[in-house]
Symmetry: C2
Subunit: 359 residues, 2 copies
């Protein structure tokens, strides 16, 4: 059993990573709970809900609530309905919420837990690779029609219980989406780790031991940053590598057309190219490009207007005074934050997309 300890300003919790953990969830909890509400989505429900229910045995009252799969479920309506479920199922301040699913479920169920009776315990049970990122760090939120994650809290879970076996069933694009964040954790922290990932074909050989190793390393990078900077001062912003363009692409192409990680992958390529130009350094642009290509990341986009992208990039929660801030690299493991002029950015975007098309 591998476990990592994560310190926050309000608690310490553990992340457990191994196979078959969903069958023994209560053994990872430090308290006994007499009343548990499992929140999951319509996709994960069919695969793993029964396992998690049974893990609690017969002495615990276990109820569940299912929301439709997909990012649009992070709505105020579902949030309110889940509150109603919690009340109807008699949850009190000593009860537990289980977030069983990917990042969407983790964000939504975590925000319900954060605000039900001013905050009750919850545990993250991620079922995607991407959620190795979102399940650690305590960010929980729902969406507003005007923007993603605009309504939320910082609220750490009691534990993250990561059953690697549940990742077996992921479709390829979800594997790609999750691995992009693993690559990001390599780029901002550790060249050796980045190179290890670059040697791996992530589609053909699903090896739970390698995946487990990558997940643990990715989580530990994230955890280190979050421990240093829980509430998003400067250092936590490094986690945003690839996300400024990534979010803009996601929004512009339409959520669902390209996965979060696939968009971030393009954003990281862009950040590498901009970094090389701004700092006059050499970075593994080609290595990353080839790896993305080999693993079928979408690299050739239909024409995207660069002025429209620029405006999207300005809407980022992290932008100030309407200038775009990007995370760049002076070397692998040496992140920086740069504010970029509009003209400069347009030039960079033009180069980037021209070279991609050639590539």
């Amino acid at each position: 059993m591998s476990s990592l300890e994560i310190k926050t300003s309000t608690n310490i919790y553990h992340v457990y990573v191994d196979v078959k953990l969903r069958h023994k969830l209560p053994s990872f909890l430090e308290k006994e709970y007499s009343n548990v509400l499992i929140i999951t989505d319509s996709h994960v429900e069919k695969l793993f809900l029964d396992d998690v229910i049974h893990s609690f045995g017969t002495t615990t009252k276990v109820s569940y609530a299912v929301v439709p799969a997909g990012e649009s479920s992070k709505s105020i309506e579902n949030y309110f309905n889940l509150m109603t479920s919690a009340i109807e199922n008699g949850l009190d301040r000593h009860s537990l919420i289980v977030a069983l699913g990917g990042g969407m479920v983790g964000d939504l169920a975590g925000f319900v837990a954060a605000t039900y009776m001013r905050g009750i315990d919850y545990v993250q049970v991620p079922t995607t690779i991407l959620a190795h990122d979102s399940s650690v760090g305590g960010k929980v939120a729902i969406n507003h029609p005007e923007g993603k994650n605009l309504i939320g809290n910082f609220y750490p879970p009691q534990a993250v219980v990561y059953d690697v076996e549940t990742l077996n069933s992921l479709p390829e694009k979800e594997v790609r989406s999750g691995y992009a964040e693993i690559v990001k954790h390599g780029l901002i922290s550790d060249e050796a780790f980045f190179n290890q990932v670059m040697e791996q074909n992530i589609l053909s050989t699903f090896n739970p031991q390698i995946l487990k190793k990558h997940l643990i390393k990715g989580i530990s990078v994230k955890a280190n940053i979050v421990e240093t900077d829980e509430k998003e001062g400067n250092i936590r912003k490094y986690l945003n590598l690839g996300h400024t363009l990534g979010h803009a692409l996601e929004a512009e192409l339409g959520y669902g057309k390209i996965t979060h990680g696939e968009a971030v992958a393009l954003g990281m390529l862009f950040a590498l190219q901009v970094s090389e130009k701004v700092y006059g350094v050499t970075l593994p642009y080609d290595t990353l490009y080839n790896w993305l290509s080999k693993n079928n990341y979408p690299l050739h986009l239909s024409r995207v207007d660069k002025y429209v992208l620029l405006n999207r990039m300005k809407k980022d929660k992290k932008s100030r005074d309407l200038k775009v801030q990007m995370v760049l690299l002076k070397a692998i493991g040496q992140s920086t934050i740069e504010q970029l002029d509009d003209e400069q950015l347009i030039q960079f975007l033009e180069n980037f997309f021209r070279e991609l098309v050639k590539g």
Copy 2:
């Protein structure tokens, strides 16, 4: 200028109490804010909104949002609409929300601030006596149709700016409602303070200096308890004196029929009587009864079914395993928590209402 310092687990903030403070709000803030959203209700809007807007001068962007006066405005719909206002007015993580009004506005605007972009700064500007209680302690919430304050956070403000002059315009029942919590703060902490309040006719002589003294003392009692026990362990429960029956009466008679404080006043009388019987001590039941009577608190209720009240008391957020827990007193300043049997409680309720009717 009188000010109190309040320490929480995440920050330190000040409570300022004096006349005319609404005209110089920015001078009590430790930061400059370029974008401010004032949230108020339809009643307070007419009286004080302009003063607060003008206090920010012309260099700050100030917008406002108004909800209907009354507890029913603490709804998920208003919460969501206020989020939309915040977005439309361009608030970012460095903006400020001003909660201008009584406890309802403080709870609602505070919860918006707590969850907008995972939490931005806010300042409480209370305009009722009752809000001396709710504006300190960091509890923010909205209501669910199934119960009050079921959705919320612990989220302290950056400051509480209490302009005593705004209390001039309060109707008598609001003065009674607020003073009940001041009396409570006396009962749970300080006999001399309790006696001072009992000497005061709160309706005929509105003296801002005496009121200011009482508010500061009440806030300091609350602040001491909240500093010791931010997240409602045992000690914070003492603040619940009079509230177990109080909440049941409010809910049973219908919100708006009796004010919160008026219901709590009856609850405190009940707690004094129960305490005398359980502990065999003598407490100032008659003193409090006479003071309440002199100040026109509603003491003679139309018939209330005691079994219905008992069931309401069991629904309290603080009840466990369906037994009623009450805050009692062994002496003034010596609070305790007792779990009471249903039969015993019914007997106590019967006695209490019989004596009230005689009184």
